[in-house]
């Protein structure tokens, strides 16, 4: 397998921001493609045991990606990512959002802004993602929603899975 890959996850609670930095053992073009092409996104975006299903993808300024994360038992969680700016293969910015299967956004839920930057590091690629909520209240709504729709219990099972995997 590959050598150690950098993974930093930093939370800024005052600014309601998460910063994720992760190295990948692949060329930048390939890593960019995996973030921007539907058939590739479908193969990694949802954490196991969930899977990803793209309904539509329009990767351009003002376009959006409509997708679902699906539990093995059936429940689906629909989301859409609205692309604001795209600079291949350096950076894109987007707004995430909760929606239904038709892509109609839930107007009651806030959206976080994603700023994703791709940098070459020799043969590797660093992906630097900043996810920012507008306020503590906005973040709270998202947390509440997660508890209501059962996503949280899924994540708790995921936690257990990760613990059991890391013990192997």
């Amino acid at each position: 397998m590959t050598a150690h890959l950098q993974f930093d996850f930093v939370v800024d609670k005052e600014n309601n921001t998460m910063t994720v930095k992760r190295e990948f053992d692949a060329q930048r073009q390939l890593v960019w493609d995996c973030h921007t092409k539907r058939e590739l996104l479908d193969q990694w975006f949802a954490p196991k045991p969930l899977t990803t299903k793209t309904k539509s993808m329009d990767f351009q300024n003002g376009g959006h990606w409509l997708y679902a994360m699906i539990e093995p038992a059936g429940p689906e969680y629909w989301g859409r990512m609205d692309y604001e700016t795209i600079r291949p293969i350096d950076n894109y910015t987007a707004f995430d959002g909760f929606c239904d299967a038709t892509g109609a956004l839930n107007p009651d839920l806030p959206r976080a802004k994603w700023d994703v930057t791709f940098t070459e590091q020799g043969p590797r690629t660093l992906v630097h993602t900043v996810v920012a909520y507008q306020s503590a209240e906005a973040l709270q709504q998202v947390i509440d929603m997660g508890m209501k729709d059962g996503m949280t219990s899924t994540m708790e099972r995921l936690d257990e899975l990760l613990v059991s995997l890391s013990k192997r």
């Binding site: 590959t2 890959l5 993974f7 996850f9 939370v11 609670k13 005052e14 998460m18 994720v20 992760r22 990948f24 053992d25 692949a26 390939l30 890593v31 995996c34 590739l40 193969q43 990694w44 975006f45 949802a46 954490p47 196991k48 503590a136 209240e137 973040l139 709270q140 947390i143 509440d144 997660g146 508890m147 209501k148 949280t152 994540m155 995921l158 936690d159 990760l162």
Partner: protein, 110 residues
């Protein structure tokens, strides 16, 4: 769920204020008396007591009075709600990126 909702509301209200966040941060280093805290934040005792009250109602801090000195300390359990959410997010990113490692390895092999 309703209790949980109410407790989240009070936590986020409490954390929305910079002085109260600073008090939390200070108490993270150890307990402190109310008068020391008020002096540190350069605030009159009555208005500072209001902040302490909000933090106590949210369950973020606890206080006890010994003689004439009221001492505050962090109550870590309530903070854990937000903490837990961020932990979950970290787990999600870690898991999805492991998927991506596998995908990239497959794609490179082609």
């Amino acid at each position: 769920m309703d209790n949980y909702q109410a407790s989240l509301d009070s936590i986020f209200h409490a954390l929305a204020d910079p002085t109260r966040r600073a008090v939390i941060q200070r108490l993270g280093q150890g307990e402190a008396s109310v008068s020391d805290l008020a002096m540190r934040f350069d605030m009159a005792l009555p208005s500072f007591m209001k902040h302490i009250g909000v933090l106590e109602v949210a369950g973020l801090i606890g206080s006890k009075k010994v003689g004439r000195v009221r001492t505050c300390k962090l109550e870590p359990t309530k903070l854990a709600v937000v903490e837990k959410w961020y932990d979950d997010q970290r787990a999600i990113w870690d898991a999805r990126y492991k998927n991506l490692d596998n995908l990239l390895n497959n794609l490179k092999g082609k």
